[in-house]
Symmetry: C2
Subunit: 434 residues, 2 copies
């Protein structure tokens, strides 16, 4: 029987290469069969039972981690707490690498020196001083970063405890990671380090990141993004006595106004944002420097290039306009557009086993996967041709307002636990449940 | 002889009321004569000689004070140093009042319980962390705040030493003040406290403030100003997944762009400025809040009202535009325009003795006074009908780039000392050189 054959193949194959590399030789049915094998497996059932009993602890740890602020470039405290949690759940080789990522290993039975990475990101978008106290209303938790991505950190801890409790052995060595710098100006610095500089560089053959969405959110494309800091400088001066001189805030306002009127297609999805503005020293001084931070993303490299070129045209045009509108006798407005983020794009083909396992696992549990492109830690391996997916493990449509102060996650037990149980299946399929 | 008569009047009059209140009874010639009397006076000549020898010390103290940062609302350190300097030059009743102003008295021979105030302001426009190191190139000193207004603090100390050294007695009690909060959001808080709450409230009958300009800069009109903090709020959200929601930065950009295109008349001089912008939390989040600080001034109340109304119209219009341009399903853009500065206007009539003495002193020394309106500590007494002038005591056209990082003052000895000597004359005329 094909299912059995498939299972035998899993058990006897010389490597996970069969799953990762030879997808074209497999059929969707084979993935469905493997998912069924896992769901019927006594160890998986034991893990599911454990997860049900462990739910309160996962939520408590999620709240605990959420309330340790992890602003961009300042994830140290949360990382230290997470490293201790990795040790407490029995991972080996626990360390915080030089970039700040938290790493730990759960050995497999037949690892080949390459790892399947299961990750979540430590950082949030929120600056220092943001109130990160978790507020609960019924089953809803409100806090900046609760959904994106702190509960995922706790979910991964729950998975490790479940594997241990159910005495599950995987064929592959698993590298669990809490990454830094996934958000904003972090520019994927954690995962970038992992794949290009760290000790596990060239040793990761498949990559899952558990992200902020629910179980039906599967991100199989890494959206390319370009981020700029655009700085206008001018001579500055007294708002009254030097009135009439060029004002960099006027140039910036003009640039934002023009940029806000840009057309971008809904498909391929293309977006643009002015996320941060800053500048000037006092209300009665013409600023000598103002700046904005701009984020642009697209599923299409051509569209990304189009909006990027438009931005670069506009910002120069706004400087020129201001230099024509007011006096430049003390100096002109100058503009600098500095590339501060350049996220690689890539995708994981439908034919990849990890894609098929995830699809089959969701469908077997009555979910309809919602595939999308995103900008996550998975961009990095995707851009390197390493199979990678960003998945969700919470209940579907049970979180929202990510990156806003009223971010929330509904952790109603039934959907939450079912989401965790379902997402565990592709993880076990790719790591090779023995 | 009119001059003598005039001098006798000075010596025998029952009060300074003759100088301050009965200008209409005097002719320009009488003021010219009094200026001549002072310039011929042995004590004045002695003071002039002293100022020449004291020059190095004035400059050194100006540099010392400039290098003690005095950002808005954070003048404490400079105030403490200045209070000590007031004590060192022998002022009595030296104190720092509850608002932070530094006060000290030099008693006159026939004070009537009311004071002539001679002031300069302690604060600069520059925020904490600004490099305030003074750089010297030849006779030019470069530093933020050097001209506006720190050298004036040192000049006033020089005047006190000169009066003491020349054993000059004035009829009037003099209240020397280093004020806080003259700049920006300080909104004249120091001088406002002095005239409306402090212990010398209702006890100041004439007011000189030594300001950043040179000797020919005489500010006899206090420009009214209105200052607003305009804040746009919106729902915020993820720059990619929530793309399409209203963005407060876009509304702000639109408002700035429209505002930058406002027409204001050159006469009556009317100005507008966007001085500070801030907002947003990360490049990949739609901001939930952004704001700008706006300064508007006019010699004409009607023009000030006109530009103020235009601003208030524009900021609402920009919110409406953004609410029409993008989705409001998670919430609309709201705008709040908060009045953060409202400086009173007023003027000191040409017929006032202090105006005439200043004019005569400048002309007697070969200077052509350049009268203007400004926004200085003198606005406050002017608005209360108390005679007040903002004068300069440095060389003419020897400073520039006020409120910018490359602010400079040329302290070439000849023009500097001549400026000081000239400005001393109206001070002595109004305080009554015995």
């Amino acid at each position: 029987m094909l299912v059995l054959t498939r299972s035998l193949l899993v058990l006897t194959a010389t490597g996970i290469g069969l799953f990762l590399g030879s997808a074209s030789a497999q059929t969707a049915d084979e993935h469905t069969s493997e998912v069924k094998r896992i769901m019927d497996h006594a160890s998986y059932k034991e893990a599911v039972k454990f997860i049900d009993g462990d739910y309160d602890r996962v939520i408590a740890e999620g709240i605990k981690l959420t309330e340790i602020p992890a602003p961009p470039f300042k994830e140290e405290k949360r990382a230290a707490a997470y490293a201790q949690m990795f040790k407490d759940v029995g991972l080996t080789d626990v360390e915080i690498d030089p970039e700040g990522n938290v790493l730990g290993i759960r050995k497999g039975t037949a690892g080949d020196g390459k790892f399947v990475a299961i990750t979540a990101h430590l950082d949030t978008v929120f600056p220092e001083g943001t109130d990160v106290t978790v507020k609960r209303e019924g089953t809803k938790l409100y806090a900046p970063g609760i959904g994106d991505d702190t509960l995922s950190l706790a979910i991964n801890l729950g998975y490790i405890r479940a594997l241990n409790s159910a005495k599950i052995q995987t064929k592959e060595d698993i590298l669990f990671v809490g990454t830094v710098g996934e958000e904003g100006l972090g520019d994927l610095r954690g995962v970038r380090y992992l794949f290009t500089k760290g000790k596990y560089k060239d040793k990761i053959k498949a990559f899952f990141t558990v992200e902020g969405g629910g179980i039906t959110s599967v991100t199989n494309g890494g959206i390319g993004s370009k981020r700029y800091r655009v700085t206008y400088k001018g001579p500055g001066g007294h708002s009254y006595s030097a009135f009439g001189l060029v004002n960099p805030a006027f140039a910036l306002g003009e640039a934002i106004s023009l940029f806000s009127r840009s057309f971008v297609p809904a498909k391929p999805k293309t977006t643009f944002n002015v996320g941060v503005i800053t500048g000037g020293t006092s209300v009665n001084s013409i600023p000598f420097e103002v700046s904005m931070e701009v984020d642009m993303r697209s599923e299409s490299d051509a569209e990304l290039k189009r909006i990027e070129e438009r931005l670069l045209t506009i910002v120069q045009q706004a400087a020129d306009t201001e230099n024509f509108a007011r006096s430049t006798k003390e100096g002109k407005i100058t503009v600098k557009a500095e590339l501060i983020g350049d996220r690689p794009s890539g995708s994981t083909a439908e034919t990849q086993p990890m894609y098929q396992f995830t699809k089959a696992a969701l469908e077997a549990n009555g979910y309809k996967p919602n595939y999308s492109w995103g900008s996550t830690d998975a961009n990095m391996p995707m851009s390197l041709g390493i199979p990678a997916l960003s998945i969700g493990a919470k209940g579907p449509d049970k979180n929202g307002r990510s990156h806003s102060l009223d971010e929330w996650a509904d952790v109603e037990k039934g959907p939450f636990v079912k989401g965790m149980n379902t997402a565990l299946i592709p993880l076990l399929a790719v790591t090779g449940l023995q």
